[in-house]
Amino acid sequence: MMFDIFKRKGKEILDGSKALLSELIPGQTATIKSISDDCQGVERQRLMDLGFVPGSLVEVEMRSPWSDPTAYRIKGGLIALRKNQACKIQICPVQ
């Protein structure tokens, strides 16, 4: 059963249909697909202003010692997001 879960999760990440920014580890790169619909208002606007718009290339640069927040390299800037924000951003992983 455990393996099934892993397999399913792995597969999802592989075809990128449901991959989230929060699932990437430092060093990995992805393109942003969309921002989840339950992230609205000022928070959504701020993410987009910082460059988290569909099509943007994003690289995970480092994690805080307590693993949250994580710093992402996006459009030349280094932006820290909390996990509960990063999990609202859908991505397509880049190999």
């Binding site: 921002i35 000022v42 928070e43 959504r44 606007q45 701020r46 993410l47 987009m48 202003d49 910082l50 460059g51 718009v53 569909p54 099509g55 943007s56 640069e61 480092m62 994690r63 805080s64 010692p65 307590w66 693993s67 949250d68 927040p69 710093a71 996006i74 459009k75 030349g76 800037g77 280094l78 932006i79 820290a80 997001l81 909390r82 924000q85």
Partner: protein, 741 residues
């Protein structure tokens, strides 16, 4: 509103898009003495403030962290016989996300109509910066794009093709490295050229909208053009109204926008309503036809455009990543292994250096101001036969209190602030926010609160102002209320002095410096702990509610310019805070002298106060002297210790029936202060509780006033004032109780 008289004043420049004096005045700018108004806009941390300094020579502090310039600063310069006023707008990522700073920046350019807007961008992050540039060009075409930090870009193998950029944007582009003034002459010339030009400058129309939104936008634009034919940015206004921009809808309703319409400056309410009604009606109707992700599409569109422009203008050469110092440094500062120890050691070292390094200069200043100048003044006063009460009031009261404040405060500040500023300019502080955010998140607060706390270590009033970098109202309020738990500069001397005299004295002499430094760090850390506890309590009770908007940019590390930093921190922080302390020390010295010399029933007022408060003091493990000192010291924490010393001297003197009451103290050296305090009844308990009470009590009056200005709420000002004092009474009373058990 007095728009009537101004309509005539405006008549001759109706059609030219130059600055609007009335609106500028409302925005707090006096445009009377200058020929041109220049606004500086840009992303946070692009060196905008450095450009401002290079232009004006005015030393506005520029830290290497995002969102530092939270309010407007202004300065001026003269170039080729024209006088320019420069307004440094808050750094923003966008103009459409309705945060306070964005609104300030946008409204200034929109309503103030500066003659020139210089949009400062960071050459290493041009693409994201162009997002703001494109938005800015929609509301003002009298603009210059200043691509700053080209030196940093060059190091990263990036060059900028200014000509290509200028062609694509339709406005002049200037390359600068403001830190060493590269390109400043070009910038000045470009500013002059735009400022004196009378032709309306036409920037390239940027927005090429997708078909499904282009039609409604165009339709509303036609409406706006019909009602307000000369408004320069009708398409932008159409987009903003369709995007439910509250502040612009309000501006339209209140006639701000119609007033920008030439010839309509004095229009009556009826006309205003006719315009706004029709436009807003149309906007509401058209909104139904828009896709749900209208806002997203606009932002995406802007970024696509920015990407295209950046692709042509940014030339990357060489290898992308050789040895990257930033990544190396981050590996240390952010590392799970080294991150916290490095942080702790760095701050402990700073405090130790402040304590150890301040001793010699403090003693030196003390010798001069108190040992030499004071007797000289007294002798002089005696020779001139000035009455004793007059020389007592001015020389023993005001002068001595001020002399004390200077000799105790100046050296530690002159060490602490430059070190702090170096870290700030280096870019380390946002990393601390990054390391600490997890903790702040648990307490329901924002990681940026760590920055405001650190500012609070300098001055709580400054810390409260700095909370503007937190754009979520709830987290900002938490940061304001808890800022007082960061020991401010006025309290460091108390902590340091009492720790050195009482805690350091517990261990052998060679360890004393280290142990007392640790005691001060311990109290500071207790303040940090209290910050978390109170933040957690507030966010789970009275402030429970809306989610936070977290964003934190980690700027590249920048080697601080040592001498410039030193100069800056001395001018901006040290002298500023010292001046404030002196301003408060003068009247406090006078009060101290008066309560010591005015006698009621054969006893000075101060002694009555001390006697009255002694039982309360005992209960708190303190004494009446300390409590009287804290009452006198409400204007400024700096004078607590001098007042304590003066009162001890007074009470001893009163017993000996000798004169000189209200003279702050009469010791020859800082070392002998310990003896004086012990003679005044100070014990280890008194010392510990004094250190704690100094941490946990009401903010000084300047800070209270600042909190009121920032929150505009009596309720939160009261909470910020009385919560800490109640907590302080509780903590000291408990400790006293257990101590005596």
């Amino acid at each position: 509103m007095s728009s009537f008289n101004l309509s005539s004043a405006h008549k001759n420049c109706e059609t030219c898009p130059v600055h609007d004096k009335l609106n500028l005045q409302k925005l707090g700018i006096n445009a009377q003495n200058s020929d041109f108004i220049v606004a500086l806009a840009g992303n946070p941390n692009t060196g905008k403030s450095t450009i401002f300094n290079a232009l004006t020579g005015l030393r506005q502090h520029t830290g290497n962290w995002t969102g530092k310039t939270v309010s407007r600063s202004e300065g001026s310069f003269v170039f080729h016989d024209h006088k320019y006023k420069v307004i440094d707008l808050p750094g923003t990522y966008s103009l459409i996300s309705s945060s306070l700073e964005e609104e300030i920046a946008r409204n200034f350019v929109l309503f103030g109509k500066p003659d020139v807007t210089v949009i400062v961008t960071d050459a290493t992050r041009l693409e994201r910066n162009l997002n703001l540039v494109l938005q800015m060009l929609e509301i003002s075409s009298r603009a210059i794009v200043c691509v700053n930090l080209i030196d940093e870009a060059k190091k990263n193998g990036i060059t900028i093709d200014a000509r290509a950029l200028s062609r694509d944007l339709g406005v002049p582009v200037v390359l600068t490295a403001a830190r060493d003034e590269t390109g400043m002459y070009d910038l000045l010339s470009a500013i002059e050229k735009i400022a004196v030009s009378e032709d309306p400058i036409k920037a390239r129309t940027i927005f090429d909208l997708p078909a499904d939104i282009a039609a409604p936008v165009h339709e509303l634009e036609v409406h706006i053009k019909k009602e307000l034919p000369n408004l320069p940015n009708s398409k932008w206004l159409a987009i903003r109204l369709l995007d439910n921009d509250v502040s612009l809808t309000e501006a339209l309703q209140q006639g701000e926008l119609t007033k920008m319409q030439p010839g309509e400056a004095g229009s009556s309410k009826g006309i205003k309503n006719r315009y706004t009604g029709k436009i807003l009606e149309a906007a509401d109707r058209l909104k139904a036809r828009l896709p749900k992700d209208f806002h997203d599409k606009i932002v995406e569109r802007t970024f696509i455009e920015a990407g295209k422009i950046a692709e042509k203008a940014v030339i990357k050469s060489g290898e992308k990543r050789k040895f990257n110092l930033d990544i190396f440094l981050d590996k240390i500062f952010i590392s799970p292994l080294f991150g916290y120890p490095v942080m702790f050691l760095l701050f402990a070292f700073m405090f130790w250096l402040t304590i150890a390094g301040a001793n010699v200069p403090s003693a030196f200043l003390y010798d001069i101001l108190v040992g030499t100048v004071h007797p000289f003044l007294k002798t002089g006063a005696d020779q001139l036969q000035i009455p004793w009460w007059l020389s007592g009031f001015f020389i023993d009261g005001m002068y001595l209190a001020t002399a004390w404040v200077i000799s105790v405060m100046l050296p530690p500040m002159a060490i602490f602030f430059p070190m702090f500023t170096l870290l700030e300019d280096f870019g380390y502080l946002p990393r601390v926010a990054f390391n600490m955010d997890s903790l702040f998140k648990k307490a329901g607060a924002h990681g940026k609160q760590v920055m405001t706390m650190m500012m609070g270590f300098g001055c709580n009033a400054a810390g409260v102002v700095a909370t503007r970098i937190i754009d979520s109202p709830r987290e900002r309020l938490i940061a304001i209320i808890t800022n007082n738990f960061a020991i401010c500069n006025g309290r460091w001397p108390t902590q340091i002095l009492i720790a050195s005299l009482f805690i350091g004295a517990l261990v052998p002499a060679h360890l004393a410096g280290f142990v007392s430094a640790m005691a001060v760090v311990g109290v500071a850390l207790l303040g940090v702990l209290l910050t978390f506890i109170i933040s957690w309590g507030l966010s789970n009770t009275v402030l429970k509610g809306q989610a936070s908007v977290f964003s934190l940019e980690l700027p590249p590390y920048r080697v601080p310019k040592f001498w410039q930093t030193l100069y800056k921190s001395i001018i901006d922080r040290t002298l500023f805070v010292l001046w404030r302390a002196v301003v408060f020390a003068l009247p406090a010295g006078a009060v101290i002298w008066l309560i010591s010399n005015i006698q009621i029933g054969g006893m000075p007022v101060a002694e009555h106060m001390v006697d009255f408060l002694d039982p309360v003091g005992w209960f708190l493990g303190l004494n009446g002297i300390i409590l009287v000192a804290y009452i006198v010291a409400i204007p400024a924490n700096e004078i607590v210790i001098p007042t304590v010393l003066m009162l001890i001297v007074l009470l001893t003197d009163a017993q000996n029936h000798t004169g000189n009451a209200g003279v702050i103290f009469e010791t020859d050296s800082i070392e002998s202060l310990g003896t004086l305090l012990r003679n005044g009844g100070f014990t280890l308990l008194t010392a510990i509780n004094l250190m704690l009470f100094s941490l946990i009590h009401n903010p000084c009056s300047t800070t209270i006033y600042t909190i009121f200005k920032e929150t505009k709420s009596v309720k939160w000002t009261m909470v910020s004032t009385f919560l800490p004092i109640a907590l302080g009474i509780l903590v000291t009373a408990l400790i006293a109780m257990f101590w005596r058990m």
